[in-house]
Symmetry: C2
Subunit: 102 residues, 2 copies
Amino acid sequence: MKKKAVYTFAKWQVQQGQLQSVLSLLPELIEKSTSEEGNLFYKIHQSLADPNILVLYEGYSDENALETHKSSAHFQQVVIKQIVPLLEKREVEIANEIFSEE
Amino acid sequence: MKKKAVYTFAKWQVQQGQLQSVLSLLPELIEKSTSEEGNLFYKIHQSLADPNILVLYEGYSDENALETHKSSAHFQQVVIKQIVPLLEKREVEIANEIFSEE
């Protein structure tokens, strides 16, 4: 796989009444994701217009590192098994940065 | 307005055949946006799955700085007047970062 950083944008629409449950799961997810060797950063944002919309922005050293993240126990356990069932909608975009100084 | 950094996520679906036109307008937009006093960064990404999807991720020192950006000549001239007519779809989310060390 190419040795080029990849970035993921995940937009989560949390189901009404489930925000606190999702927020309570995030510290563990951040800690374990940022301790992965290929993780560059793991940022979570909350929409000003709708607090039930969360936007995650993550960086990985290359596509291999992203695959490692997606097959990790914490991604499978926390995101797929616990968070996704509490979401109304989930959009994920995987991208390269363009026009960057790197 | 609150003195707290705000971040914008803009997802652009570029019309078929208009990508080069949009890409050609971005260097000027990046240069002028990053020279605004309240701009923290201005990052552009291109989807791996669909090169016609661009994701912009921008940071501003506070909501005032974001308003200044949106009323700037370059935002109005380049984004609103020239780029938006070349887009099929445009989604914008304005958010605060949560769980950050700041």
